[in-house]
């Protein structure tokens, strides 16, 4: 298979000291590759090496079957443009001036912009919804606006590949979504290949075609988001000990409360999530039940509860499961009931509650009073 961008046995590092070895990237035109991994794992080092800013220690990077070692700075500038984390130092520059620097490889000896250059600048700025910022001083705009301007600058360089180092850091959620949306459009509609590092895993999961996990000396994994975003894999990658990752939502939960559970939460259909979180914040260990496997409550409970009494999805709660729940309930002193109505599938929960009541357990509707 033909790949537009690939690396072969690429080893990167600083001052001749290898940091990450044997990096093998394979990308087709218009794909989005995201590098994830803990802080200081070397994501930026890889990005700097594939843009040729950092000399790679060994191995080769190929763009369109040409080794970047055979390209001079000018050739590279037609292929790759960058959005870096380092603060752009500017003096008395308007946003339009900044974007226009993307035309650098195309202008003549004195760098005077042609009509076509100006059109490209405008197009790029409009693409990132920043045309109205054109007269503003670059140092006086917000982080979100600045990042959009830098992206416009990269776009107007008309590259084949855009490399971005943590482009969404410091942006509020709206700008994060907007920025990644623009990148996705660039990739799908304009065939631009995007290589970036992200800290926001939930975003990486949604925007990437391929994901590379960088940690320490090697690339631990390289694959599609579906392969990469697994509970255990992410947990290992980031060494999560006081929290957990939920691949279904792409979200993280805090560490589950430790200790002997004395609280039983009856819930289902999303009614329990809020109570689980309250209990987690109060560091009160709890048992969750009886939940169906396909219930959203189950997803959260399995990360936060000490124990979950669970029934298979789409099935009436069976006698066995009920007995198990009952056993567990009897060792508790408090029951929080989140349910207000019961259906055929979960009518056993009503029974459970009645038993608890008959046993004289403390029955509450919320965990607030605990």
């Amino acid at each position: 298979m033909e790949y537009f961008f690939r690396t072969s046995r690429l080893t990167v590092g600083y001052n001749g000291k290898p940091l990450i070895k044997d990096i093998e990237i394979r990308l087709q035109k218009g794909q989005i590759l995201t590098l994830i991994g803990p802080n200081g794992s070397g994501k930026s080092t890889i990005l700097k090496s594939i843009t040729k800013y950092l000399k790679s220690i060994c191995g080769t990077v190929y763009i369109d079957n040409r080794s970047i070692d055979d390209m001079n700075d000018r050739d590279m500038s037609y292929q790759v443009s960058v959005v870096l984390t380092e603060r752009l130092r500017t003096e008395l520059m308007t946003c339009e001036d900044i974007v226009a620097t993307g035309r650098y490889p195309y202008t003549g000896m004195l760098g005077i912009l042609s009509r076509r250059d100006k059109v490209q600048v405008r197009k790029a700025m409009e693409l990132v919804n920043a045309w109205e910022l054109k007269e503003r001083d670059f140092t006086q705009i917000s982080d979100g606006q600045r990042q959009r301007i830098l992206l416009a600058r990269a776009i107007c360089q008309e590259p084949q590949i855009i490399v971005l180092d943590e482009p969404t850091s410091f942006l509020d959620i709206r700008f994060k979504l907007e920025l990644l949306g623009i990148l996705a459009t660039m990739a799908k509609e304009h065939g631009i290949t995007v290589i970036m590092s992200l800290h926001e895993l939930e975003m990486a999961q949604k925007v990437s075609d391929l994901v590379m996990c960088v940690k320490g000396e090697t690339i631990t994994h390289f694959g599609s988001p579906r392969e990469i975003f697994q509970k255990e894999l992410i947990g290992e990658l980031y060494e999560l000990v006081n929290g957990s990752y939920n691949p279904l939502f792409g979200s993280f939960e805090m560490e589950r409360p430790k200790g002997d559970a004395k609280v039983f939460v009856i819930a289902g259909g999303g009614t329990g999530v809020a109570q689980y979180r309250v209990l987690q914040k109060k560091r009160i260990p709890f048992v969750a039940g009886i939940l169906h496997e396909n219930d959203v409550d189950y997803q959260i409970a399995s990360d936060l509860a000490s124990e979950v009494v669970v029934e298979k999805g789409f099935q009436r709660i069976g006698e066995n499961t009920y007995q198990k729940a009952l056993q567990r309930l009897k060792s508790c002193d408090t029951v929080i009931n989140c349910l207000t109505s019961y259906g055929e599938m979960n009518e056993k929960n009503k029974e459970l509650l009645e038993t608890a009541s008959a046993q004289g357990l403390n029955i509450l509707e919320t965990a607030d009073a605990l």
Partner: protein
């Protein structure tokens, strides 16, 4: 606020600034010719310049003393301002300049050394030798400053070490002058404080060649300079060969600074104050326009300061560096205060 309006407004500002600078330059040119221990009327100036003057003394004063001196002011002032602009770009530090980084003093030291040795044996030193000596001195101190810059990250420390290097070089120069021959002392003493006086047409010719060629090369480099202003990694991504560019920048700023020091001695603050003033006037830092404006501004600044140096306490003459410091230092202080305010 449409685009054409805004762009036109900016262009207008560039044009007005350039026009203003040119008017100032011409005005100071005339003042410099006319004023002095002998005052020449405006009408006579024109005649003398066109070679129609009847007064031979005036003719000699203007052609042999004031004109070459002014040419030196224009050329060297422009060179200083450009040298400062290049160094500020290189170190990404608004108060970098040939004087504060000690490069002027380094050039001065080697020139003084060469002068003392050469004058002791041959009585004269050619301009080319002086410039070469100054260039060697500038490169040596520049090398030292670059070493320091590699070790210390803080830009304030860079300036402090530059000032220190400057003091050391000045001290050694004073030492050399103290032990030099009687005859050469007078000249050296004036020169080592900075002055445009006693410039000959021969000197002007040499400095014109050096300064004009170098400045033109600097102007041609305005595109990579504009890329470099953003920082190295972005510049490289725009296709600039960073290594080559850095070497060129160091060489060019050293040549400019050497040219100035060889003829006029070390002159302070022009290199910092002028680029800053010019950028504020233009409202932009685009090298394409800032470079020519800087040259013009440096020329104006030096012509003005030289006029004051010559006439303020005539017949006594001040060293040009004292005058540039009086006008330049407040600009630098003001600049730093404004920076602080924004940060």
């Amino acid at each position: 606020m449409g685009i054409p309006n805004e762009a036109a407004r900016r262009h207008l500002r560039y044009c007005i600034t350039i026009a203003l600078l040119l008017i100032l330059l011409v005005g100071l040119f005339l003042l410099n010719i006319g004023l002095g221990s002998v005052t020449v009327a405006i009408g006579d100036i024109g005649k003398i310049l066109l070679g129609q003057g009847e007064n031979l003394t005036d003719h000699d004063i203007i052609w042999k003393i004031r004109l070459p001196r002014m040419m030196a002011g224009i050329l060297l002032g422009g060179a200083l301002a450009l040298s400062g602009f290049l160094l500020q770009t290189y170190f990404n530090n608004p108060i970098a300049g040939p004087y504060v980084l000690g490069i002027s003093s380094g050039a001065k030291l080697v020139v003084a050394l060469v002068m003392v040795i050469a004058l002791g044996r041959y009585y004269t030193v050619s301009s080319a030798v002086l410039i070469s000596a100054a260039f060697v001195g500038a490169m040596i101190t520049m090398g030292f400053v670059l070493l320091v810059a590699r070790v210390v990250q803080r830009s304030s420390m860079l300036i402090v070490s530059g000032v220190m290097i400057g003091y050391i070089c000045s001290a050694i120069t004073d030492f050399i002058i103290t032990f030099a021959d009687e005859t050469s002392i007078v000249n050296l003493h004036n020169w080592s404080n900075g002055t445009f006086s006693a410039t000959s047409w021969e000197d002007v010719r040499v400095m014109a060649v050096v300064v004009v060629i170098t400045s033109f090369i600097v102007f041609l480099m305005s595109k990579p300079i504009s890329a470099y202003q953003f920082g190295e990694s972005y510049a490289q991504n725009m296709g600039v060969n960073i290594r080559l560019f850095r070497v060129l920048l160091v060489l060019l700023s050293s040549v400019l600074c050497a040219g100035v020091t060889a003829f006029a001695g070390p002159i302070s603050f022009v290199g910092i104050a002028v680029p800053h003033l010019v950028k504020s006037l233009l409202g932009t830092a685009k090298p394409l326009i800032v470079i020519p404006a800087c040259f013009c501004g440096g020329a104006i600044f030096c012509l003005g300061c030289d006029l004051i140096a010559r006439t303020a306490f005539a017949p006594l003459e001040l060293s040009i560096s004292s005058v540039t410091a009086v006008f330049g230092a407040p600009v630098v202080i003001g600049m730093m205060l404004r920076k602080k305010e924004r940060a």
